[in-house]
């Protein structure tokens, strides 16, 4: 009797957890999930980091809502120090501003140390009404050996 109660508890817990998971994961139609808070002005961003030898290529494409009239981006190359701490690489910070609803920034930098790197991209968008939104995105992390 106790064993049957236990199995019932397991099945209930599994169903409950699956129900929660299905609200956040999806297969063919992502729109089937429950609505969640979203970006106001940002539509999509693709921050990319690649290395060729010791040269880091920091390239990011940003698309905002058509109502956005100005995008300002601060892109930084960061190096992993440890203990979840990322340090900005000195000299590898770039700012670009465009009076449009999309922006692409293409930069490169020579690094001198091996380690794990990523780019941090801070995107500030302003629409015609003066509404401002700032979103920060990160590229994939790349291990570099020099």
């Amino acid at each position: 009797m106790k064993f049957k109660k236990g199995m019932a508890a397991i099945i209930a817990a599994t169903l409950l957890t699956t129900g929660v998971s299905s609200a956040t994961a999806y297969a063919d139609t992502p729109a089937m999930h429950e609505p969640m808070p979203c970006y106001e002005l940002l539509s999509s961003a693709v921050p990319m980091l690649a290395f060729e030898g010791s040269t880091a290529y920091c390239e990011t494409a940003i698309d905002a809502e058509p109502s956005v009239v100005r995008i300002s981006v601060v892109q930084k190359l960061q190096k992993y120090w440890g203990l979840w701490i990322w340090n900005d690489v000195s000299g590898a910070s770039w700012t670009q501003t465009d009076n449009d609803s999309d922006l692409t920034i293409l930069k490169s930098f020579n690094v001198s140390e091996s380690g794990k790197y990523r780019t941090q991209v801070e995107i500030t968008m302003t629409d015609a009404d003066g509404t401002t939104e700032t979103v920060t995105v990160y590229s994939k992390e790349i291990d570099v050996t020099i």
């Binding site: 397991i10 998971s21 994961a25 990319m48 980091l49």
Partner: protein, 213 residues
């Protein structure tokens, strides 16, 4: 009655009885065996505890598996989607043995009437061509698969999988903009813009490897 008490009082006057050494040794062996069997009995009575522990472990394992699947994300059409609090991240699943830089260019052979190129950006891992006509625009981008990581506002967009040529394209539609992403086997291609869905799909269908003259 008094005589009865006096007679049996003789039996209570004696001290504690001491058994012989041989008897005591025999009984000690018996008691030791009894102590060992009590240990066995205890383990038998712990079966319900073992069952409870197994059930708890099973629940924890199932929950961990389900949470892991959720964190890893759902894979569809060559992309892995992971949903976060305010956005969805997606990247390419199959990234090994593909170009790590933009080596070959993919471009559309059909352009909607009246649109002209207003900007072209050639990066190492990202290439972009912008087209505009009046207040309409679209942007075609080509990304290397290894480095691709997209952030998209998943709540605002309705999503659909569409077959384009031999590929399955992820199509995102909102009130203001539409976009397509697909893995063409070598690179990730995207088209983003304020043009109609049919024009986006036609652009995707016409996007082919640029002939090098």
């Amino acid at each position: 009655m008094e005589a009865y008490r006096q007679e049996f009082a003789e039996f209570t006057k004696g001290g504690e009885y001491r058994f012989s050494l041989r008897h005591r040794l025999k009984m000690r062996k018996v008691f030791q065996k009894y102590d060992n069997s009590k240990t066995i009995d205890l383990s038998i009575s712990s079966k319900p505890k073992l069952r409870r522990r197994l059930m708890v472990a099973l629940i924890i394992a199932l929950t961990a598996i389900i949470l892991t699947i959720t964190v890893i994300g759902i894979i569809t059409n060559g992309f892995r989607f992971v949903e976060h609090e305010d956005h969805t991240q997606f990247d390419a699943v199959d990234v090994m043995d593909y170009p790590t830089t933009i080596e070959e260019i993919y471009e559309p052979t059909w352009i909607p009437e009246g649109f002209e190129i207003t900007e072209l950006r050639d990066g190492k891992v990202l290439r972009e061509v912008k087209y505009k006509k009046n207040n309409k625009h679209f942007v075609i981008r080509q990304y290397t698969k290894q480095n691709f990581l997209g952030y998209v506002d998943s709540q605002r967009y309705q999503t659909e999988n569409i077959s384009v040529n031999e590929y399955t394209v992820v199509y995102w539609q909102s009130d203001n903009v539409n976009k397509l992403y697909w893995d063409n086997g070598e690179y990730i291609i995207s088209i983003f813009g304020t043009i109609a869905k049919e024009e986006l799909i036609k652009l995707a269908e016409s996007t082919k490897l640029k002939n090098v003259e």
